[in-house]
């Protein structure tokens, strides 16, 4: 393992972890606010987008997937992708997304 790989494995500095956490906390705050404020038609897309952003941030930065070997990303996102595919298809046959 060369020096850059070594560096990458250690990820980011503690300060940037704290920054990420602050962003995550802010998004969570925004999410909770949808409970009190009416976002109208934006409600569902906004909530799902925020959920995905939080998810990807934790995976990429806290779990180092952004800096780590692509093999790890392949293994994890294959599982995630398959889960989305099979379960969304199954729910679709129950007419879950209609209505």
């Amino acid at each position: 393992m060369n020096a850059t790989a070594e560096h990458q494995e250690h990820g980011m500095s503690d300060a940037s972890y704290i920054k990420i956490a602050i962003i995550l906390a802010a998004i969570t705050g925004l999410e909770v606010s949808t409970y009190y404020v009416d976002f109208g038609p934006l409600f569902m897309p906004a909530l799902l987008t925020m959920m995905i952003v939080k998810f990807v941030m934790v995976v990429s930065y806290f779990m180092h997937l952004k800096f780590d070997s692509k093999i790890f990303s392949f293994l994890f996102y294959t599982g995630l992708g398959l889960a989305l595919f099979v379960y969304c298809t199954a729910l679709a046959t129950f007419k879950f997304f209609v209505s």
């Binding site: 093999i71 294959t78 599982g79 595919f85 099979v86 298809t89 199954a90 679709a92 046959t93 129950f94």
Partner: protein, 661 residues
């Protein structure tokens, strides 16, 4: 296990004291006799044990099948009651799939995968042992139900709400759920272990596209397992919570959708079909080139079609549910996806045919079984394509036509592949050749028996015999010679011929063990790395880790291209190559030490499971054992730092197996 060599003199050092774990329990010291097997972490011993366990369950499942055929041989069968019959076909399928087919593929994978990639063991030897023992515990739990109030009786896919407490009041389904859950954990651990092994422990120079096809197919299978087992786990958990703790998941009176079970089951169940067949595809992809004296035709196509079968296999599950009222859009989509999956399968068939085309075919028993697979699987594959057409499937659903189809692919395909593997690799594992004459009897009786048993079932199915009918009357048998009753009788006679065929294999095994001929190191002029070592292989597999330059590395060490004559010229034989490796053996080889914990942990999991049926106190005991074993496991030093294996030398030194600290 570590093997160390000590000089055969009086100055032999004292036995190394293993370090203590948990303050009290030491690592196993005794590595002889039964302990050698119970606490081993050697992938080869574990592989053999997988094989023995699977073969035992093959016999159990086979006897169940014979009882079913006896019951249906003549009108008004009275061998089994309706209730026992339900239990019998449920346990026959469950046993054959989860306790024979998967473990037997696991036996081959465990034994040969590290050898084929030039590794000394799997990535996690203790987890490997744990997988084996969990499987054994799962099998015992499943079959214990026979003696504890009756076995599961809902069919192997255990559709809800029939599997609920109302319609299946005995504990049978509970045992079934727990047994599969435990066996599922075993498979999950095993699959993670084997994937890491393939990705991380290949010999230098062995890129993914230089791996033997068997290894490739096992890799694809393990990915299928990693991603499909959690789905059946969810289904089983839901069913368990409903049966034991009053959940309502499949309770229609509460507004539940029983189709939820069908989806979860088949999202797992269809990849599972490929889990069953791909190992056999891998085996014959080794056997056919070897006995055709030609390289496999279109290696990359075989590999990528295997991988795409795996991927598409996740998108076709609902074709098992065409009759359930999914709606036209879903049916059309899944119907097309199902037809598409026939393409990569067909690609493989043509690759095998073209491998044999123009080859110097050598009809050993292994080769016969491999050719048998190609033919019989194709028949099963064709009837499979008829199921992908939804209107025709609707007519065939739950008739014997389905039974005929999946027995052609599973028995004609999977089982023949496994038997091909037995005959091909037996000399590698045990150093003795299975008898070819008995092998021939074994093969032909199985071919005849299998076609007599499952061939007529196509007709029976189209005549309308329902899949799980336990009795038929003379009136139902119909008139004329080739009636319903006639074909049932033919199928029953066929099943006994089949059983005699299998019996010939067992006789062959016993005979070979007693007086078999010692196998040469390279009896088949084989192609892959597992033959670049002694038979049976030494505990550390290879004296020197091979450096790989070619696909079919072993073959390319024996032959070089003669460009003038456009042929391959033999430059060395296997015997010489193995001797050369021995002469250049590595100086220090570390091998993992045996461990108590895998078998203890597996037992704990079994007790924990029984607690779900028999109450909290037992659960607490099981949990305590699991916790104790987990800490023992974690705190156990996995490898000693200072004990090595020194390779054999010719100066009279003795080798000795010693424990590691």
């Amino acid at each position: 296990m570590a093997i160390i060599e000590r000089p055969g003199t009086e100055t032999t050092p004292a036995v190394v004291t293993p370090q203590q774990t948990l303050g009290a329990v030491k690592r196993p010291v005794e590595t002889k006799g039964w302990r050698e097997w119970l606490f081993t972490v050697d992938h080869k011993k574990i592989g053999i044990m997988y094989g023995v366990v699977a073969m035992a369950f093959f016999i159990v499942g086979g006897v169940e099948a014979l009882l079913i055929r006896l019951q249906l041989a003549a009108p008004n069968g009275h061998i089994l009651s309706a209730d026992k019959y339900n239990q019998m076909f449920t346990m026959h399928a469950t046993t054959m799939i989860f306790l024979f087919a998967m473990p037997m593929a696991g036996a081959f994978a465990n034994y040969f995968l590290p050898l084929q990639i030039g590794a000394r063991d799997v990535a996690f030897p203790r987890i490997n042992a744990l997988s084996l023992w969990l499987l054994v515990v799962g099998g015992i739990v499943l079959n214990a139900s026979w003696f504890l109030g009756g076995a599961a009786d809902g069919g192997w896919f255990m559709y809800a709400p029939n599997s609920g407490p109302v319609f299946s009041p005995s504990h049978g389904v509970d045992f079934w759920v727990l047994g599969l859950q435990v066996a599922g954990i075993a498979s999950l651990l095993g699959s993670i272990n084997l994937i890491v092994t393939v990705l991380n422990m290949r010999a230098p120079g062995m890129s993914l596209m230089k791996m033997p096809v068997f290894t490739w197919m096992i890799l694809v299978v393990q990915f299928l397992l990693v991603f499909s087992l959690p789905v059946i786990t969810v289904a089983l958990v839901l069913l368990m919570l409903q049966r034991s703790y009053g959940a309502t998941f499949f309770d229609v009176s509460q507004g539940a959708d029983p189709l939820l079970w069908q989806h979860l089951f088949w999202i797992f169940g269809h990849p599972e079909v490929y889990v069953l067949i791909l190992p056999s595809f891998g085996i014959i992809s080794e056997v056919l080139p070897t006995f055709s004296r030609k390289p496999l035709f279109g290696y990359p196509f075989v590999v990528f079609s295997g991988a795409s079968i795996g991927l598409v296999g996740f998108g076709v599950w609902a074709h098992h549910m065409f009759a359930s009222g999914l709606g036209p859009v879903s049916v059309a989509v899944f119907s097309i996806a199902t037809m598409a999956i026939a393409i990569p399968t067909g690609v493989k068939i043509f690759n095998w045919l073209l491998t044999m085309w123009g080859g110097k075919l050598w009809y050993t028993t292994a080769m016969k079984f491999a050719i048998g697979l190609v033919i019989l699987f194709t028949i099963g594959g064709l009837s499979g394509v008829t199921h992908s057409v939804a209107p025709s499937d609707t007519q065939q659903t739950d008739t014997y036509y389905i039974v005929a189809h999946f027995h052609y692919v599973l028995f004609g395909g999977m089982v023949f592949g496994l038997f091909s593997g037995f005959y091909y690799w037996w000399p590698k594992v045990f150093g003795k050749m299975l008898n070819e004459k008995l092998g021939s009897w074994n093969f032909w009786l199985m071919v005849i028996g299998m076609n007599m048993t499952f061939g007529p079932m196509h007709i029976l199915g189209l005549q309308g015999q329902p899949r799980r009918m336990y009795i038929w009357t003379k009136a139902r048998g119909g008139e004329g010679l080739f009636n319903f009753g006639f074909w049932n009788m033919v199928a029953s006679i066929g099943s006994f011929i089949l059983a005699i065929g299998v019996l010939f294999f067992l006789i062959n095994v016993v005979k070979t063990a007693r007086s078999g001929k010692t196998a040469p190191l390279d009896p088949w002029d084989a192609r892959t790395l597992e033959w670049l070592t002694t038979s049976p292989p030494k505990p550390h597999n290879f004296d020197r880790i091979p450096v790989v330059h070619h696909l079919d590395e072993f073959f390319h060490r024996k032959y070089e291209e003669d460009s003038a004559a456009n042929t391959m010229r033999k430059i060395a034989d296997g015997e010489e190559l193995v001797r050369a490796e021995e002469a250049a053996a590595d100086a220090n080889i570390h091998l993992p030490a045996p461990s108590y914990w895998p078998i203890v942990l597996a037992t704990g999991v079994g007790i924990l499971g029984l607690g779900i049926i028999y109450g909290v106190p037992i659960m607490v005991v099981g949990f305590a054992v699991v916790l104790f074993a987990s800490f023992g496991w974690v705190l156990e030093p996995s490898v000693a730092e200072d004990i090595d294996f020194a390779p054999a030398s010719n100066d009279g030194n003795t080798k000795e197996i010693a424990p590691l600290g």
